[in-house]
Subunit: 220 residues, 2 copies
DNA sequence: AGCGTTAACTGAACATTGATAAGTTATCGG
DNA sequence: CCGATAACTTATCAATGTTCAGTTAACGCT
Protein backbone atom coordinates (compact mmCIF):
# COMPACT_ATOMS: atom_id res chain seq x y z
CA UNK A 1 0.00 0.00 0.00
CA UNK A 2 2.42 2.66 -1.18
CA UNK A 3 2.32 5.69 -3.44
CA UNK A 4 -0.37 4.79 -5.90
CA UNK A 5 -1.79 8.28 -6.06
CA UNK A 6 -0.82 9.95 -9.28
CA UNK A 7 -2.84 13.03 -9.91
CA UNK A 8 -4.18 14.23 -13.22
CA UNK A 9 -2.28 17.07 -14.87
CA UNK A 10 -3.29 20.42 -13.48
CA UNK A 11 -4.04 23.19 -15.92
CA UNK A 12 -1.40 25.80 -16.48
CA UNK A 13 -1.75 28.81 -14.23
CA UNK A 14 -2.81 32.17 -15.55
CA UNK A 15 -0.17 34.87 -15.72
CA UNK A 16 0.51 36.31 -12.30
CA UNK A 17 -1.06 33.34 -10.56
CA UNK A 18 2.25 31.62 -9.85
CA UNK A 19 1.94 32.03 -6.09
CA UNK A 20 -1.13 29.86 -6.22
CA UNK A 21 0.92 27.04 -7.65
CA UNK A 22 3.54 27.68 -5.01
CA UNK A 23 1.01 27.06 -2.30
CA UNK A 24 -0.29 23.97 -4.03
CA UNK A 25 3.25 22.64 -3.97
CA UNK A 26 3.64 23.43 -0.30
CA UNK A 27 0.37 21.73 0.52
CA UNK A 28 1.24 18.65 -1.48
CA UNK A 29 4.67 18.50 0.12
CA UNK A 30 3.16 18.79 3.56
CA UNK A 31 0.60 16.08 2.91
CA UNK A 32 3.20 13.76 1.50
CA UNK A 33 5.55 14.50 4.33
CA UNK A 34 2.95 13.76 6.97
CA UNK A 35 1.71 10.65 5.21
CA UNK A 36 4.99 9.07 4.23
CA UNK A 37 7.83 10.88 5.97
CA UNK A 38 10.84 12.76 4.72
CA UNK A 39 12.38 10.00 2.68
CA UNK A 40 9.30 9.65 0.56
CA UNK A 41 8.92 13.35 0.06
CA UNK A 42 10.83 13.55 -3.18
CA UNK A 43 10.71 16.29 -5.76
CA UNK A 44 9.15 13.99 -8.30
CA UNK A 45 6.44 12.73 -5.98
CA UNK A 46 5.51 16.23 -4.91
CA UNK A 47 5.33 17.37 -8.49
CA UNK A 48 3.30 14.31 -9.32
CA UNK A 49 0.71 15.15 -6.70
CA UNK A 50 0.38 18.69 -7.86
CA UNK A 51 0.09 17.51 -11.43
CA UNK A 52 3.14 19.27 -12.85
CA UNK A 53 6.58 18.19 -13.94
CA UNK A 54 9.44 17.96 -11.47
CA UNK A 55 11.49 20.85 -12.81
CA UNK A 56 8.46 23.12 -12.48
CA UNK A 57 9.08 22.97 -8.75
CA UNK A 58 12.25 24.91 -9.25
CA UNK A 59 10.30 27.86 -10.53
CA UNK A 60 8.96 28.34 -7.05
CA UNK A 61 11.72 27.07 -4.79
CA UNK A 62 15.46 27.43 -5.19
CA UNK A 63 15.96 23.82 -4.12
CA UNK A 64 14.48 21.11 -1.96
CA UNK A 65 15.96 22.69 1.11
CA UNK A 66 14.08 25.92 0.51
CA UNK A 67 10.86 23.99 0.12
CA UNK A 68 11.38 22.21 3.41
CA UNK A 69 12.29 25.45 5.11
CA UNK A 70 9.02 26.95 4.00
CA UNK A 71 7.21 23.92 5.40
CA UNK A 72 8.95 24.32 8.74
CA UNK A 73 8.03 27.96 9.11
CA UNK A 74 4.45 27.17 8.31
CA UNK A 75 4.29 24.62 11.09
CA UNK A 76 6.19 26.76 13.55
CA UNK A 77 3.50 29.34 13.27
CA UNK A 78 1.32 26.95 15.28
CA UNK A 79 3.75 26.84 18.17
CA UNK A 80 4.23 30.59 18.08
CA UNK A 81 0.48 31.00 18.21
CA UNK A 82 0.26 28.68 21.20
CA UNK A 83 2.83 30.74 23.06
CA UNK A 84 1.06 33.96 22.15
CA UNK A 85 -2.12 32.44 23.56
CA UNK A 86 -0.32 31.91 26.85
CA UNK A 87 0.81 35.51 26.89
CA UNK A 88 -2.75 36.60 26.30
CA UNK A 89 -4.43 34.45 28.92
CA UNK A 90 -1.87 33.88 31.67
CA UNK A 91 -0.44 36.67 33.81
CA UNK A 92 1.69 34.96 36.42
CA UNK A 93 5.28 34.58 35.16
CA UNK A 94 5.90 31.25 36.84
CA UNK A 95 2.68 29.85 35.45
CA UNK A 96 3.68 31.17 32.05
CA UNK A 97 6.90 29.19 32.20
CA UNK A 98 5.07 26.02 33.19
CA UNK A 99 2.49 26.49 30.46
CA UNK A 100 5.24 27.11 27.96
CA UNK A 101 6.75 23.77 28.83
CA UNK A 102 3.46 21.99 28.48
CA UNK A 103 2.71 23.69 25.18
CA UNK A 104 6.14 22.89 23.83
CA UNK A 105 5.88 19.22 24.70
CA UNK A 106 2.36 18.99 23.34
CA UNK A 107 3.44 20.63 20.13
CA UNK A 108 6.33 18.25 19.70
CA UNK A 109 4.27 15.18 20.37
CA UNK A 110 1.41 16.19 18.11
CA UNK A 111 3.70 17.28 15.25
CA UNK A 112 6.41 14.65 15.48
CA UNK A 113 7.38 14.78 11.84
CA UNK A 114 7.82 18.51 11.72
CA UNK A 115 9.65 18.34 15.00
CA UNK A 116 12.04 15.86 13.50
CA UNK A 117 12.57 18.00 10.49
CA UNK A 118 13.20 21.15 12.45
CA UNK A 119 14.90 20.05 15.62
CA UNK A 120 16.26 16.59 15.15
CA UNK A 121 17.57 16.04 11.75
CA UNK A 122 21.31 15.76 11.66
CA UNK A 123 21.29 14.44 8.15
CA UNK A 124 19.47 17.09 6.28
CA UNK A 125 21.45 19.94 4.77
CA UNK A 126 22.98 22.51 7.07
CA UNK A 127 20.48 25.28 6.51
CA UNK A 128 17.56 23.14 7.56
CA UNK A 129 19.38 21.92 10.62
CA UNK A 130 19.78 25.51 11.69
CA UNK A 131 16.10 26.29 11.52
CA UNK A 132 15.34 25.35 15.05
CA UNK A 133 17.89 27.49 16.72
CA UNK A 134 19.24 30.01 14.40
CA UNK A 135 20.90 32.84 16.28
CA UNK A 136 18.40 35.35 17.53
CA UNK A 137 20.27 38.08 15.69
CA UNK A 138 19.28 36.69 12.32
CA UNK A 139 16.86 38.55 10.17
CA UNK A 140 13.48 37.52 11.56
CA UNK A 141 11.73 38.04 8.24
CA UNK A 142 13.80 35.31 6.66
CA UNK A 143 12.54 31.76 6.74
CA UNK A 144 13.76 29.41 9.41
CA UNK A 145 13.80 31.52 12.54
CA UNK A 146 10.67 30.11 14.13
CA UNK A 147 12.58 28.13 16.73
CA UNK A 148 14.64 31.05 17.92
CA UNK A 149 11.54 33.21 18.21
CA UNK A 150 9.88 30.67 20.45
CA UNK A 151 12.96 30.32 22.58
CA UNK A 152 13.18 34.07 23.04
CA UNK A 153 9.68 34.03 24.47
CA UNK A 154 10.71 31.51 27.09
CA UNK A 155 13.66 33.64 28.12
CA UNK A 156 11.38 36.67 28.26
CA UNK A 157 9.10 34.78 30.67
CA UNK A 158 12.12 34.00 32.84
CA UNK A 159 13.23 37.61 32.85
CA UNK A 160 9.74 38.61 33.97
CA UNK A 161 9.88 35.96 36.63
CA UNK A 162 13.14 37.35 37.97
CA UNK A 163 11.84 40.90 37.78
CA UNK A 164 8.82 39.87 39.83
CA UNK A 165 11.18 39.07 42.70
CA UNK A 166 11.76 35.35 42.29
CA UNK A 167 15.41 34.37 42.62
CA UNK A 168 16.87 32.12 39.95
CA UNK A 169 19.82 29.77 40.32
CA UNK A 170 21.28 30.81 36.99
CA UNK A 171 21.00 33.77 34.62
CA UNK A 172 17.66 33.80 32.77
CA UNK A 173 19.14 32.78 29.45
CA UNK A 174 20.97 29.88 31.05
CA UNK A 175 17.75 28.84 32.77
CA UNK A 176 15.97 29.03 29.45
CA UNK A 177 18.57 26.90 27.76
CA UNK A 178 18.48 24.31 30.51
CA UNK A 179 14.70 24.12 30.40
CA UNK A 180 14.65 23.87 26.65
CA UNK A 181 17.27 21.16 26.67
CA UNK A 182 15.23 19.12 29.12
CA UNK A 183 12.00 19.56 27.19
CA UNK A 184 13.75 18.83 23.95
CA UNK A 185 15.36 15.73 25.41
CA UNK A 186 11.95 14.51 26.46
CA UNK A 187 10.22 15.19 23.17
CA UNK A 188 13.02 13.85 21.03
CA UNK A 189 13.26 10.70 23.10
CA UNK A 190 9.59 9.92 22.50
CA UNK A 191 9.83 10.75 18.84
CA UNK A 192 13.11 9.06 18.01
CA UNK A 193 12.73 5.98 20.15
CA UNK A 194 9.03 5.09 20.14
CA UNK A 195 9.86 1.42 20.54
CA UNK A 196 11.69 1.93 23.81
CA UNK A 197 9.68 0.79 26.85
CA UNK A 198 9.43 4.21 28.46
CA UNK A 199 7.70 4.42 31.78
CA UNK A 200 4.42 6.34 31.93
CA UNK A 201 4.48 9.20 29.49
CA UNK A 202 2.40 11.57 31.58
CA UNK A 203 4.59 10.91 34.59
CA UNK A 204 7.69 11.68 32.56
CA UNK A 205 6.23 14.92 31.25
CA UNK A 206 5.12 16.02 34.70
CA UNK A 207 8.42 14.94 36.19
CA UNK A 208 10.49 16.80 33.65
CA UNK A 209 8.55 20.02 34.22
CA UNK A 210 8.83 19.67 38.00
CA UNK A 211 12.51 18.91 37.92
CA UNK A 212 13.35 21.91 35.83
CA UNK A 213 11.15 24.34 37.69
CA UNK A 214 12.55 23.17 40.98
CA UNK A 215 16.03 23.27 39.51
CA UNK A 216 16.03 26.87 38.34
CA UNK A 217 14.14 28.41 41.27
CA UNK A 218 16.28 29.30 44.25
CA UNK A 219 14.77 27.65 47.32
CA UNK A 220 16.75 28.31 50.50
CA UNK B 1 39.95 20.50 -0.62
CA UNK B 2 37.67 17.50 -0.94
CA UNK B 3 38.06 13.79 -1.55
CA UNK B 4 41.27 13.57 -3.52
CA UNK B 5 42.45 10.41 -1.84
CA UNK B 6 42.05 7.44 -4.10
CA UNK B 7 44.00 4.49 -2.84
CA UNK B 8 45.89 1.98 -4.96
CA UNK B 9 44.21 -1.38 -5.48
CA UNK B 10 44.76 -3.70 -2.56
CA UNK B 11 45.81 -7.23 -3.31
CA UNK B 12 43.22 -9.94 -3.15
CA UNK B 13 42.92 -11.59 0.23
CA UNK B 14 44.02 -15.16 0.78
CA UNK B 15 41.31 -17.74 1.27
CA UNK B 16 39.83 -17.53 4.72
CA UNK B 17 41.20 -14.04 5.28
CA UNK B 18 37.95 -12.28 4.45
CA UNK B 19 37.48 -10.97 7.97
CA UNK B 20 40.67 -8.94 7.51
CA UNK B 21 39.10 -7.15 4.60
CA UNK B 22 35.97 -6.65 6.63
CA UNK B 23 37.94 -4.78 9.24
CA UNK B 24 39.74 -2.74 6.63
CA UNK B 25 36.35 -1.66 5.36
CA UNK B 26 35.16 -0.74 8.83
CA UNK B 27 38.29 1.28 9.47
CA UNK B 28 38.02 3.10 6.16
CA UNK B 29 34.35 3.82 6.79
CA UNK B 30 35.12 5.16 10.23
CA UNK B 31 37.92 7.41 8.99
CA UNK B 32 35.79 8.72 6.18
CA UNK B 33 32.86 9.24 8.50
CA UNK B 34 34.92 11.19 11.00
CA UNK B 35 36.66 13.23 8.34
CA UNK B 36 33.74 14.08 6.13
CA UNK B 37 30.52 13.11 7.87
CA UNK B 38 27.70 10.77 7.01
CA UNK B 39 26.75 12.26 3.69
CA UNK B 40 30.23 11.74 2.31
CA UNK B 41 30.48 8.22 3.60
CA UNK B 42 29.24 6.51 0.46
CA UNK B 43 29.74 2.92 -0.55
CA UNK B 44 31.90 3.90 -3.47
CA UNK B 45 34.15 6.17 -1.47
CA UNK B 46 34.65 3.57 1.23
CA UNK B 47 35.49 0.94 -1.36
CA UNK B 48 37.81 3.40 -3.02
CA UNK B 49 39.77 3.93 0.17
CA UNK B 50 40.11 0.24 0.81
CA UNK B 51 41.19 -0.29 -2.77
CA UNK B 52 38.40 -2.61 -3.84
CA UNK B 53 35.31 -2.27 -5.98
CA UNK B 54 32.02 -1.09 -4.54
CA UNK B 55 30.16 -4.39 -4.86
CA UNK B 56 32.92 -6.11 -2.88
CA UNK B 57 31.55 -4.34 0.15
CA UNK B 58 28.43 -6.43 -0.06
CA UNK B 59 30.45 -9.57 0.54
CA UNK B 60 31.02 -8.37 4.08
CA UNK B 61 27.94 -6.31 4.89
CA UNK B 62 24.36 -6.96 3.93
CA UNK B 63 23.86 -3.29 3.16
CA UNK B 64 25.02 0.18 4.16
CA UNK B 65 22.87 0.06 7.25
CA UNK B 66 24.67 -3.03 8.54
CA UNK B 67 27.99 -1.33 7.98
CA UNK B 68 26.92 1.71 9.95
CA UNK B 69 25.52 -0.47 12.70
CA UNK B 70 28.87 -2.17 13.07
CA UNK B 71 30.52 1.24 13.29
CA UNK B 72 28.13 2.30 16.04
CA UNK B 73 28.77 -0.71 18.18
CA UNK B 74 32.48 -0.21 17.85
CA UNK B 75 32.21 3.32 19.13
CA UNK B 76 29.77 2.43 21.86
CA UNK B 77 32.34 0.14 23.34
CA UNK B 78 34.17 3.30 24.45
CA UNK B 79 31.22 4.56 26.42
CA UNK B 80 30.58 1.16 27.92
CA UNK B 81 34.21 1.02 28.99
CA UNK B 82 33.95 4.45 30.60
CA UNK B 83 30.95 3.30 32.62
CA UNK B 84 32.72 0.11 33.64
CA UNK B 85 35.63 2.24 34.81
CA UNK B 86 33.23 4.11 37.08
CA UNK B 87 31.94 0.86 38.50
CA UNK B 88 35.49 -0.21 39.20
CA UNK B 89 36.72 2.96 40.84
CA UNK B 90 33.69 4.57 42.47
CA UNK B 91 31.72 2.97 45.27
CA UNK B 92 29.19 5.57 46.39
CA UNK B 93 25.96 5.17 44.39
CA UNK B 94 25.18 8.88 44.26
CA UNK B 95 28.67 9.64 43.06
CA UNK B 96 28.31 6.90 40.48
CA UNK B 97 25.23 8.58 39.07
CA UNK B 98 26.98 11.94 38.90
CA UNK B 99 30.01 10.43 37.24
CA UNK B 100 27.79 8.62 34.79
CA UNK B 101 26.31 11.92 33.76
CA UNK B 102 29.69 13.52 33.31
CA UNK B 103 31.00 10.56 31.34
CA UNK B 104 27.95 10.50 29.12
CA UNK B 105 28.20 14.18 28.28
CA UNK B 106 31.94 13.95 27.73
CA UNK B 107 31.43 10.99 25.42
CA UNK B 108 28.81 12.80 23.40
CA UNK B 109 30.84 15.94 23.03
CA UNK B 110 34.04 14.15 22.07
CA UNK B 111 32.31 11.79 19.61
CA UNK B 112 29.74 14.12 18.09
CA UNK B 113 29.51 12.31 14.78
CA UNK B 114 28.93 8.91 16.27
CA UNK B 115 26.49 10.44 18.69
CA UNK B 116 24.57 11.90 15.79
CA UNK B 117 24.53 8.61 14.01
CA UNK B 118 23.37 6.62 17.00
CA UNK B 119 21.13 8.95 18.95
CA UNK B 120 20.06 11.76 16.73
CA UNK B 121 19.49 10.68 13.25
CA UNK B 122 15.88 10.68 12.31
CA UNK B 123 16.63 10.29 8.67
CA UNK B 124 18.72 7.20 8.60
CA UNK B 125 16.95 3.86 8.13
CA UNK B 126 14.87 2.50 10.95
CA UNK B 127 17.31 -0.10 12.21
CA UNK B 128 20.05 2.44 12.76
CA UNK B 129 17.69 4.80 14.51
CA UNK B 130 16.90 2.06 16.96
CA UNK B 131 20.50 1.45 17.91
CA UNK B 132 20.58 3.92 20.73
CA UNK B 133 17.64 2.62 22.64
CA UNK B 134 16.67 -0.73 21.46
CA UNK B 135 14.50 -2.51 24.01
CA UNK B 136 16.57 -4.08 26.74
CA UNK B 137 14.95 -7.42 25.95
CA UNK B 138 16.66 -7.61 22.58
CA UNK B 139 19.38 -10.13 22.04
CA UNK B 140 22.46 -8.44 23.48
CA UNK B 141 24.83 -10.30 21.20
CA UNK B 142 23.28 -8.66 18.17
CA UNK B 143 24.68 -5.38 16.91
CA UNK B 144 23.06 -2.16 17.95
CA UNK B 145 22.30 -2.63 21.61
CA UNK B 146 25.12 -0.50 23.01
CA UNK B 147 22.82 2.34 23.98
CA UNK B 148 20.42 0.16 25.92
CA UNK B 149 23.30 -1.49 27.77
CA UNK B 150 24.59 1.88 28.92
CA UNK B 151 21.17 2.99 29.98
CA UNK B 152 20.69 -0.17 32.01
CA UNK B 153 23.82 0.67 33.97
CA UNK B 154 22.41 4.04 34.90
CA UNK B 155 19.21 2.47 36.16
CA UNK B 156 21.29 -0.07 38.09
CA UNK B 157 23.10 2.79 39.81
CA UNK B 158 19.77 4.32 40.75
CA UNK B 159 18.50 1.04 42.13
CA UNK B 160 21.66 0.81 44.27
CA UNK B 161 21.08 4.36 45.37
CA UNK B 162 17.56 3.56 46.50
CA UNK B 163 18.72 0.36 48.19
CA UNK B 164 21.30 2.36 50.10
CA UNK B 165 18.46 4.23 51.79
CA UNK B 166 18.15 7.34 49.66
CA UNK B 167 14.56 8.19 48.79
CA UNK B 168 13.77 8.95 45.15
CA UNK B 169 10.94 11.07 43.83
CA UNK B 170 10.12 8.58 41.10
CA UNK B 171 10.72 4.89 40.41
CA UNK B 172 14.37 4.20 39.48
CA UNK B 173 13.64 3.56 35.83
CA UNK B 174 11.65 6.77 35.55
CA UNK B 175 14.51 8.62 37.25
CA UNK B 176 16.92 7.06 34.79
CA UNK B 177 14.80 8.08 31.84
CA UNK B 178 14.46 11.64 33.11
CA UNK B 179 18.20 11.92 33.68
CA UNK B 180 19.01 10.45 30.33
CA UNK B 181 16.56 12.79 28.61
CA UNK B 182 18.18 15.79 30.23
CA UNK B 183 21.71 14.70 29.39
CA UNK B 184 20.67 13.83 25.89
CA UNK B 185 18.95 17.16 25.45
CA UNK B 186 22.13 18.89 26.51
CA UNK B 187 24.44 16.89 24.28
CA UNK B 188 22.21 16.99 21.26
CA UNK B 189 21.72 20.71 21.61
CA UNK B 190 25.45 21.33 21.48
CA UNK B 191 25.91 18.94 18.61
CA UNK B 192 22.96 19.92 16.46
CA UNK B 193 23.04 23.66 17.03
CA UNK B 194 26.70 24.62 17.37
CA UNK B 195 25.99 28.03 15.92
CA UNK B 196 23.51 28.96 18.62
CA UNK B 197 24.92 31.42 21.17
CA UNK B 198 24.68 29.10 24.15
CA UNK B 199 25.71 30.48 27.49
CA UNK B 200 28.79 29.00 29.13
CA UNK B 201 29.10 25.34 28.27
CA UNK B 202 30.58 24.24 31.58
CA UNK B 203 27.87 26.08 33.47
CA UNK B 204 25.22 24.34 31.43
CA UNK B 205 26.74 20.92 32.02
CA UNK B 206 27.11 21.53 35.74
CA UNK B 207 23.62 23.01 35.90
CA UNK B 208 22.01 20.12 34.08
CA UNK B 209 23.63 17.59 36.40
CA UNK B 210 22.63 19.58 39.48
CA UNK B 211 19.07 20.05 38.34
CA UNK B 212 18.52 16.39 37.70
CA UNK B 213 20.21 15.15 40.84
CA UNK B 214 18.22 17.62 42.91
CA UNK B 215 15.12 16.67 40.99
CA UNK B 216 15.17 12.97 41.58
CA UNK B 217 16.36 12.98 45.19
CA UNK B 218 13.62 13.40 47.77
CA UNK B 219 14.56 16.30 50.03
CA UNK B 220 11.93 17.05 52.66
C1' DA C 1 51.94 -31.16 -11.97
C1' DG C 2 47.43 -30.52 -12.98
C1' DC C 3 42.43 -30.22 -11.93
C1' DG C 4 38.19 -28.72 -9.75
C1' DT C 5 36.04 -26.13 -6.16
C1' DT C 6 34.98 -21.98 -4.41
C1' DA C 7 36.29 -17.67 -1.83
C1' DA C 8 37.30 -13.19 -3.30
C1' DC C 9 36.51 -9.92 -6.41
C1' DT C 10 35.17 -6.91 -10.83
C1' DG C 11 32.37 -4.49 -14.58
C1' DA C 12 28.25 -3.28 -16.22
C1' DA C 13 23.93 -2.14 -15.19
C1' DC C 14 19.43 -0.60 -12.75
C1' DA C 15 16.25 2.38 -10.44
C1' DT C 16 16.16 6.64 -7.72
C1' DT C 17 17.63 10.79 -6.20
C1' DG C 18 18.22 16.23 -6.69
C1' DA C 19 19.16 19.37 -10.15
C1' DT C 20 20.00 21.96 -14.84
C1' DA C 21 19.68 23.35 -19.80
C1' DA C 22 17.19 24.27 -23.49
C1' DG C 23 13.22 24.47 -25.67
C1' DT C 24 7.89 24.99 -25.94
C1' DT C 25 3.30 26.76 -25.01
C1' DA C 26 -0.17 29.67 -23.50
C1' DT C 27 -1.58 34.03 -21.71
C1' DC C 28 -1.93 38.84 -21.85
C1' DG C 29 -1.09 43.95 -22.89
C1' DG C 30 -0.95 46.80 -26.64
C1' DC D 1 -3.00 39.63 -34.00
C1' DC D 2 1.60 40.03 -32.37
C1' DG D 3 5.39 40.09 -29.51
C1' DA D 4 6.94 39.55 -24.78
C1' DT D 5 7.32 36.55 -21.22
C1' DA D 6 5.34 33.71 -17.36
C1' DA D 7 4.55 29.00 -16.93
C1' DC D 8 5.78 24.77 -18.03
C1' DT D 9 7.96 20.26 -20.31
C1' DT D 10 11.33 17.00 -22.21
C1' DA D 11 15.73 15.35 -22.08
C1' DT D 12 19.57 14.83 -19.54
C1' DC D 13 23.17 14.92 -15.83
C1' DA D 14 25.94 13.03 -12.01
C1' DA D 15 25.54 10.58 -7.73
C1' DT D 16 23.44 7.25 -4.77
C1' DG D 17 22.56 2.20 -2.98
C1' DT D 18 22.25 -2.27 -4.85
C1' DT D 19 22.19 -6.51 -7.88
C1' DC D 20 23.68 -9.72 -11.53
C1' DA D 21 26.61 -12.27 -14.05
C1' DG D 22 30.82 -13.20 -14.74
C1' DT D 23 36.14 -13.61 -13.67
C1' DT D 24 40.29 -14.53 -11.12
C1' DA D 25 43.17 -16.60 -7.93
C1' DA D 26 44.06 -19.52 -3.88
C1' DC D 27 43.84 -24.05 -2.07
C1' DG D 28 43.03 -29.27 -1.38
C1' DC D 29 43.39 -33.44 -3.70
C1' DT D 30 45.06 -37.01 -6.67
Amino acid sequence: MTGFSTVLPAGRKRRGEGHTRREEILQAAKDLFLEQGYDSTTIRRIADRVGISAPALYLYFRDKEALMLALCDQTFAHLIEAVAEIERTVADPLERVRRFGEAYVRFGLTHPDEYRLVFLNANIPEAIRKVGHRAATDDPTKPGVGGALVFKRLVAFLVELEASGTKLNYPPDTCGELCWMGLHGLVSAFILKPEFPWSDRELLIKGMLEIHLKGILRTP
